[in-house]
């Protein structure tokens, strides 16, 4: 199978996944939960039945699920995900537009740190395997793996913020600074483009804790896989040949060993992306970071179906598209994959 065919097949599959998620989520969130009008309007719904009826009619709340789904799909085709009662009935698309950039900021730094810490410790563990250093590294990543992200986040908050006052406890930036204007939509990139380094520094300081919390939880997978693939490769014949040629250990280890040992990490990347994106939901809530995870939890608590549905679709879109990119990259680096 050639590469283009492979990419098309993966893209069709990704679309199919997205469609089924939409349907499942829609039916679930509309079919089973009771009448949401009370949590939308509060006491007003009871005091003014005509208001409740008007809202119900406007948002098609009393229609059968499939009719509601039809309206939802029509709206979606026009780029409209509905209106969010937990955010004063703002359009869901608008709220996601405000929150998604912050989630992407955390996600980017968390993935970056996961890879840096994971690869670094994996290399060290392989270099010094079966020594106390190797054992210590295993103990550290097991501890990280076993801890839920929100727990790691709280511990970091207790130690680094409340005990030592090193980093801010929450938020995404210092609100007293000049805010960057809208260029790409992602505040950290925009501030760099504008030369607003003060804002960038503040945003960077605010993103450290949440992304470190996620990196601590997830770097272990990278370390573990890299360590074992590194050990396996260092016993391969071509490494023996390189040694026989008289190359020095450092060149062999990094140039011949590490480069090949990194391959399995590429195949892991979609898994890591999925974990980190779902992990942002927790750390955003702990560090009051104004991303999509905070919005989702608000929507969950307020029976805000359009909000739940919209964020779920965007989460799945982010995850499915990054998985697609990872799979295609993997197929580019390793032609064997395309045969499967």
């Amino acid at each position: 199978m050639n590469l283009a065919k492979y990419i098309i097949r993966r893209a069709i599959f990704a679309t199919f996944v997205l469609l089924s998620v939409m349907t499942i989520t829609f039916v679930l969130s509309h079919g089973l939960g009771g009448d949401p009008i009370y949590s939308w309007l509060g006491k007003a719904a009871g005091l003014h039945p005509e208001l409740a009826a008007a809202y119900a009619a406007k948002y098609h709340l009393r229609d059968p699920v499939y009719v509601q789904y039809y309206y939802y799909l029509v709206g979606l085709s026009q780029g409209n995900l509905g209106y969010s009662p937990s955010r004063n009935f703002l359009p869901v698309v608008q709220v996601i537009g405000q929150t998604l950039p912050f989630t992407l900021q955390i996600g980017f730094f968390a993935i970056l740190m996961t890879l840096i810490i994971g690869i670094l410790l994996g290399v060290i563990a392989a270099r010094y395997n079966h020594t106390p250093i190797d054992v210590a590294i295993r103990a550290v990543y097991m501890a990280g793996y076993g801890s839920p992200p929100f727990f790691v986040g709280l511990v970091l908050l207790i130690v680094l913020t409340f005990q030592f006052g090193l980093l801010p406890s929450g938020g995404a930036f210092d609100p007293n600074l000049v805010q960057p204007s809208w260029i790409t939509g992602i505040p950290m990139i925009d501030s760099l483009l504008e030369g607003n380094f003060q804002y960038f520094a503040s945003a960077l300081v605010h993103v450290i804790l949440p992304s470190t919390a996620l990196a601590i939880c997830f770097f272990g997978v990278v370390t573990r896989v890299l360590r074992s693939s590194m050990l396996e490769i260092m016993h391969a014949n071509y490494i023996r040949t390189a040694r026989a040629k008289g190359l020095d250990e450092g060149t062999i280890f990094f140039k011949h060993g590490l480069r090949h040992a990194l391959m399995p990490i590429v195949s892991l990347s979609s898994l890591i992306v999925t974990w980190i994106i779902t992990g942002t939901i927790f750390v955003e809530n702990i560090f009051s970071y104004p991303g999509m995870g905070r919005y989702l939890v608000q929507a969950l608590n307020g029976q805000d179906y359009p909000g739940i549905l919209g964020t779920t679709i965007v989460y799945v879109l982010v995850i499915v598209s990054s998985t697609l990119v990872a799979d295609v990259l993997y197929a580019v680096v390793d032609p064997q994959v395309r045969l499967g």
């Binding site: 076993g146 709280l154 511990v155 207790i158 969950l300 739940i308």
Partner: protein, 290 residues
């Protein structure tokens, strides 16, 4: 080629290999303690006995936010409830949810995977594409939506997770079935005129069960982590019933005055998860050494 050996021989040798690794023994101790605690708590609850030092639901404002001491091993929460007693009472939740999810996922996955692998053709294609779709859904987000739709509760939590948990088992079962299906003893059973279902249950499934058991052991830890997340978001038990995730989220306002309140339940979760994954690692090493 893996041969079917007499069962007792395999298990006694496997047990010998397992207990050689101190890490695995540690994991085994954690897992056994965890399960035993759950059983004892459940039985005593059914009998109406209180085995915890204090009533886990009893509020006592006098000792609100008390630090850990001999009287209150893990301290007291903001309502003066004994945290140790609450931790003990929440252990059965994790055992129930994780074992149910993994159990149902193994059974459903094994059946789907074995059927797809054994029958092949269109059925295989349909079942595996369906599995692929479910497999690529983000577990936590979907479980969250299902949990919200069903409302809080342990059983609802279990259902929400089971729905999306089985695909890896189906893939594993299919792969193993394909591997086993062409071995002589299966061909022999087929020529002997046995029905597909009886071959599946008598010959194929027992052969794939060990691989699945190892994966399931590793998986329990992941389930407990996801469950803790759902519970942290307030989707599990209803207050005042305790749960480890809920204990962390409800103590978030006391990070400065009583940091042990979120730390202790978090450590318990971590110890349980690490216990299962260390045990699973040990089991996998034994399996690979075979």
């Amino acid at each position: 080629m893996a041969q079917v050996k007499p069962k007792s021989h395999v298990s006694s040798r496997a047990l010998g290999l397992l207990t050689k690794n101190p890490e695995t023994i540690l994991g085994l101790i954690v897992v056994v303690t965890f399960v035993l605690t759950a059983v004892i708590v459940t039985v005593s609850n059914l009998l109406g006995l209180q085995i915890t030092p204090y009533d886990p639901l009893q509020q006592n404002v006098g000792v609100s936010l008390a630090a850990p001491s001999w009287a209150h091993l893990f301290g007291c929460d903001f309502l003066g409830r004994d945290v140790f007693s609450r931790v003990i009472l929440s252990i059965p939740n994790d055992v129930l949810v994780s074992f149910c999810v993994v159990g149902v996922a193994v059974v459903v996955g094994a059946l789907i995977g074995a059927l797809a692998g054994f029958k092949g053709g269109l059925l295989d294609e349909l079942l595996m594409r369906f599995t692929d779709v479910i497999f690529s859904l983000p577990v936590l987000v979907i479980a969250m939506v299902i949990a919200v739709a069903l409302g809080p509760g342990l059983i609802h939590m279990t259902v929400a997770m089971v729905v999306i948990w089985w695909p890896p088992y189906a893939r594993m079962a299919r792969g193993e079935t394909l591997r086993v299906a062409h071995q002589n003893f299966i061909e022999a059973a087929r020529f002997a005129g046995q029905k597909t279902t009886s071959i599946l249950f008598k010959h194929v499934l027992p052969n794939i069960s060990i691989t699945m058991l190892v994966y399931a052991t590793l998986d329990v830890g992941t389930i407990i982590l996801v469950y803790a997340g759902l519970s942290y978001l307030g989707l599990s038990v209803r207050p005042p019933q305790p749960d480890l995730g809920e204990m962390i989220s409800s103590s978030q306002d006391y990070l400065i005055t009583a940091p042990w309140l979120p730390i202790i339940p978090g450590l318990i979760i971590a110890i349980i998860v690490i216990g299962f994954s260390v045990l699973g690692d040990g089991m996998r090493d034994v399996l690979e050494a075979r």
